[in-house]
Amino acid sequence: MTEITCKLLVIGAGPGGYVCAIRAGQLGLDTVIVESTKLGGSCLNIGCIPSKAMIHVAEEFEKAAHAAAGKTPFGLTASAPKLDLKQAVAWKDGIVQRLNNGVAALLRKSKVKIVHGRARFRDGKTVIVETETGPRTIKAETIVIATGSAPVELPFLPFGGNVISSTGALALTEVPKRLAVVGGGYIGLELGTAFAKLGAKVTVVEAQASILPLYDAELTAPVAKHLAALGVEVLLGAKARGMTPKGNALLIETAGGEEKRIEADKVLVTVGRAPVTNGLGLEELVLDMDGRFIRIGERCETSMRGIHAIGDVTGEPMLAHRAMAQGEMVAEIAAGLPRAWDKRCIPAVCFTDPEIVSVGLSPEEAGKAGLEIKTGKFPFAANGRAMTRHGEQGFVRIVAQAQTQLVLGIQAVGQGVSELSSTFGLAIEMGATLEDIAGTIHAHPTLGEAAQEAALMALGHAIHI
């Protein structure tokens, strides 16, 4: 059995793991990364990237469908669009493939050794990887667990047949006529919206009293409104009970306690994601856990010396960019640099229609923290760029500390607002005040102007409203 000895071993080549490995390679560390499937992890292969590709397909299809129906206010007409979903999926897979190759190239460039196979701890310094050519032993000074998460399966709705996970949904080669979505979180609504645009009759079953519980009602209202316009039925306070014996309908219990059948060709279950820790041999290490997640400190250290954990396996928020930031930090720590997690915010984006972005504290969260706040809210209905994009719904909202004008949080809902998350995050990370944002020239005409106006609004002198 060949044995590899290295300085840093990363288990999992998702966005956390591969960023960690690349950064470690840049810093000159002798680094090995182990991946059992494809490079890029859930994000690249079955999550962020493919879902956004399919959402884009759906948007384009919807535009063409609107043009065909003569619904565009600007006089564009087209003949009824047809979608070859197989080709769309192939296009999506092409993007994924390119990115896979890109990650591999970046890892090679940083002189990171890639080992394909499933890793299992033997002890705190040693991992056995089952590869196609047999087991390989890797010994490392520092080991990073970056195994990510997987969709949660409901026991009464096991994946298989017509019951699919998000991964399955992104691989569908035909648009289901009737799609039931169990779970009204961001994954279910992003995919549900896309399939609705592609022509599916979508029903969302959510056990909570509201959709998108991560965001407040003000932000989700435009999304709920647009779901209704798309013909998506949203059943709140409703619980999935299982499939009918024939497998062609979902049984649910409504908020009123009644049994109901939802006819469905496919049932997409998106009720959350669980950390991937099984089969990793963690029982050999006895790491401290935080519920199902691996407990970490501010340097992503586990309870065992020399073992770090990053990304979804360490808990919420399960977001690729959080994992990336942790990965970069841990690589630098392994290289002996003084680092610790001191980020001010982790932006959250929901690619529904309209999109939602939230950075920092919401008004409610700031209030709960005992902060005296002021808010400024500017609607896209008064933003020139939003009008020319035919996307006037939504707004930008800024939450600031009343006394100091320090910006505590920025949220937005609207078409294309996901791209504003960078500037929102930068503002908070830099410790911007309302006057900093108000005093920055925002290019015209852009959606970003709404952020400047929201800051001016909070200061009491918005210009364009």
């Binding site: 003084p338 001191d342 006394q403 100091t404 309302l434 006057e435 200061l459």
Partner: protein
């Protein structure tokens, strides 16, 4: 309405100018007749200038510390009535009526802060709602940032850009130890750089912080007079100082006896009248010590009359009221006059005459008076006697130590005209007289 110019009146004392030391009004104040306008300082005394009329202050002619010539314009007032004589007969009534609504504000002219407070609730017309949104200013943000009270709460993350945070971490600095000078208390690169130069706060006692504020206080009025006088004394006069200890036990016994039954004619005596008597007696033997030295003219004015200045601490600063003709006063006479002029100096009512004309000076800090002092001669005098604190000390009487009430005299002399020998003779004579107090009462 007419303009009335108030000029600096002749404040007496034959002077041509005075230093403005205090304004009681500012532009825009409504004042009434006899309200104080300003205070000016002559050589010694402060003179208050009242307003001769009612009116509104529209102009003030000098800043505190300026020297103003007698007769120059001090204040311009807008007064009711017309300047011309051809006014209708009703006009003279106007001044009485017009200022009435202003009477209330006028009463607060001496307390501008109170006036500002009182005027706050006055606006009754609410501005439009849109205008009431408080408009934060940079100043507000700065003030909060710099206010130590605004330091972050426990557990609160310090506010700094990622670059500053990284730099701090690399330097091993915990940013929680820093306070930022940026908006909302943001820690800037320069704050971190300053901290790196200064070193950690942790080495200092908690709760202590560096203070960098500088308060500029203009030296005006009495302080300036004192400063000038002291600088003159010390720059012109080569001082020699002799410290001698005096056993005042018998004097204190005598004083206690005399103070047993005070009457208006014979009030309680402090030690100073005894010292004054001793000085009168010593000076009768050494008249050259009771003199003013006009060093510009090269003349020593040796005075027959002994006028003893008493350095006195007043609320506004050091003053030297004078007991005139001490040689003609008995011990109670000295005591009575000393009390009177000291009181007048303290309450600010001493006249220029009472504050000038001394030929020799006593300085005493009373119970605060230390073991020894280095008195500064009251220019252009040639000698000053300083009294130090009396205390009981063990004194060797030849066979044993006995407790004695001892007091040091620290006396300075102008060495240009008084030699050390003469100075020592004078001090020894004072000691002899004070230690044998009966001799103070023997005339001739």
């Amino acid at each position: 309405m007419a303009e009335r110019i108030i000029k600096l009146p002749d404040v007496g004392e034959g002077i041509a100018e005075a230093e403005l030391v205090e304004w009681h009004v500012k532009i825009g104040d409504i004042i009434r007749e006899d309200d104080l306008l300003a205070a000016v300082m002559t050589d010694k005394a402060t003179v208050e200038i009242p307003s001769p009329v009612d009116g509104e202050v529209t102009w003030i002619g000098a800043e505190i510390g300026d020297t103003v010539a007698i007769g120059s314009a001090l204040v311009k007032l807008k007064v009711a009535g017309a300047p011309s004589a051809e006014e209708p007969a009703a006009a003279p009534e106007a001044p009485k009526e017009a200022p009435k609504p202003a009477a209330k504000p006028a009463a607060t002219t001496e307390a501008p802060a109170a006036k500002a407070e009182a005027s706050k609730p006055a606006p009754t017309v609410e501005p439009p709602k849109a205008m009431t949104v408080p408009k934060p200013t940079r100043g507000v943000v700065q003030a909060i940032a710099q206010n130590p009270a605004s330091r972050r709460a426990p557990g609160e993350k310090p506010l700094a850009s990622p670059a500053v945070r990284l730099k701090a971490r690399e330097a091993g600095i915990d940013l929680r130890q820093l306070s930022g000078t940026g908006p909302a208390g943001r820690i800037l690169h320069k704050d971190l750089d300053a901290y790196l130069l200064r070193g950690p706060d942790a080495e200092r006692a908690p709760g202590l912080s560096e203070k960098t504020a500088v308060t500029d206080i203009k030296v005006v009025g009495l302080r300036r007079k004192i400063a000038e006088k002291m600088a003159l004394s010390k720059s012109r006069i080569p001082h020699i100082t002799i410290v001698e200890e005096v056993n005042v036990t018998p004097l204190e016994d005598l004083r206690a006896t005399l103070n047993k039954k005070p009457t208006p004619e014979r009030p309680k005596l402090t030690l100073l009248p005894f010292l004054m008597r001793a000085m009168v007696k010593a000076i009768s033997e050494q008249p050259n010590l009771n003199a003013l030295y006009d060093d510009d003219a090269g003349v020593i004015h040796q005075h027959a009359g002994i006028h003893i200045g008493i350095a006195t601490q007043t609320p506004t600063g050091l003053m030297v009221p004078v007991v005139k003709h001490a040689e003609a006063r008995d011990i109670w006479g000295c005591g009575i006059e000393l009390n009177r002029i000291a009181e007048r100096a303290r309450d600010g009512t001493a006249t220029r005459d009472e504050l000038t004309g001394s030929t020799i000076t006593i300085t005493s800090l009373g119970a605060l008076g230390g073991i020894a002092t280095t008195p500064v001669i009251n220019y252009p005098e040639v000698a000053i006697v300083g009294v130090n604190k009396m205390m009981i000390r063990p004194i060797w009487d030849g066979t044993t130590f006995v407790p004695r009430k001892m007091m040091n005299l620290s006396s300075s002399f102008d060495h240009r005209v008084i030699d050390g020998w003469d100075a020592a003779i004078f001090v020894q004579r004072l000691k002899e007289l004070l230690e044998n107090p009966a001799t103070l009462f023997i005339d001739g």
